[in-house]
Assembly symmetry: C2
Amino acid sequence: MKRTKATAKEKFAHIRVAFQGELGAFSQQAIRQFLGPKAEPVPQERFDLMFAALERGDVDAAAVPIENTLHGSVHANYDLLLKYDFAITAETSVRIVHNLIAPPGMTFRQVRTVFSHEVALNQCLDFFARYPRIRREPFYDTAGSVKMVMAERPEGGAAIASELAAQIYGGNILKRGIEDDRQNYTRFFLLEPAGSPARTPPRPARKPSNASVWKTSLVFSTRNIPGALFRALSALALRDLNLVKIESRPLRGKPWEYLFYLDLIGRPDEEAVHNALGHLREVADFLRVLGSYRAA
Amino acid sequence: MKRTKATAKEKFAHIRVAFQGELGAFSQQAIRQFLGPKAEPVPQERFDLMFAALERGDVDAAAVPIENTLHGSVHANYDLLLKYDFAITAETSVRIVHNLIAPPGMTFRQVRTVFSHEVALNQCLDFFARYPRIRREPFYDTAGSVKMVMAERPEGGAAIASELAAQIYGGNILKRGIEDDRQNYTRFFLLEPAGSPARTPPRPARKPSNASVWKTSLVFSTRNIPGALFRALSALALRDLNLVKIESRPLRGKPWEYLFYLDLIGRPDEEAVHNALGHLREVADFLRVLGSYRAA
């Protein structure tokens, strides 16, 4: 008999997972996608505090936004990945759907002011253009704006946030999906202490389907010589490995030199990837594998 | 007889150059390095407004910060480079030196609160650790914080900003170079309308020195196939061209696909660069040369 997903997830019910933001943040949705609804989300005010909580062992894992299809990479988190020595054990992609949320009983016609994080407000410009009577008011957090309108009930006040935030704080969704661009996704990494026994669902047994596509993430720096990046990428290309993301970050202490973060398709225990990593080690000044995980 | 630099610069005295921030910003220092002290700096509140001012012809050029050695690329400006069709005609690098500035007559021992942009405050942590009696107060702009302490004279209030800001607003430098990391540089591009006769100093005649090193900046997207980036970079590597910077940005409307911004050493009128651009055009979906300029 096939074991159901739910059974596997129950095993991980007591995992505590740090995320940045208030309860109801899109990061909490990522935690649900990673580990089911029973994993305990642990809010943190800033990204660096989320990493520090995992380092101290206050939490078992962290759900870290790494890139968004409209805004690009979350560079602060790339830098923190290098600063700490955690392993990326999973990735997931959350569709960013913005909803207009108000206290129960309030109608759409009564809405006068909409609170939300500035980024979310700026992703709903068509909505605000259509309803010029509605004023935008920047707030520090999307989910936090729902919490506030529910607690303080400002006259004509509503919020823009996730459906999860509406559920958590008892808000009523007046309009769903008011974002301008539906191709708005955020990709998250699940981080766990490196070397510790993985607390997340283990690798599935061999499956010949798409579910068995794996990614490996790594970071390296090259020697400062012409063609260095090309040589590094040749370690992958000569083995027909598919590079799906490259991100550069400044190298501290060496002005105008860079670190490169790569995601490739494959697992280090596959021969081509194993050999590519060996080759890359030869041509790079520094190399670290950040993790290997099933592609979302 | 050799024409002096000053003579060349006088020719450009009436150039109006947009920059982001208040008078005295590090961007104004970049304008001086580009065009001498007589070019007129035109402050703009935001990066997008600086580009819009150039588009309307309100200014002749714009000085755009593109990367910092500690914080990495200014991604918003990479995106704006693509949105508008300007040419990069020069680059320069400004050493970021933070100074403690107060109204004349005030002594260091009287300083109780220091105002500045949060990024600047966070770059002077050693200073604040050494003087725990001094409180940090985030302000919207570095130069703006000098303007404010000079105008409002808050009790015990000083600011952190550039030497230029101290000069402009008549502030007194109490301590010079209080930044933690001296390898703090920001690289700027000078942008001018594409196709218009260059208003900036023209190319120097052939010089066999380092002064004749040129860079070319371009942006391209690859087809979404394995090895696409490697193939694109091979157009450079096979011609021994030196890639000095690569930056990726999300491609709007195509989740998880990317645009790449490259800087290479060379000029499009050199044979190797000309051929590399032709080769790149073959393998890229899209390619635009953003400009060619003397390396700083």
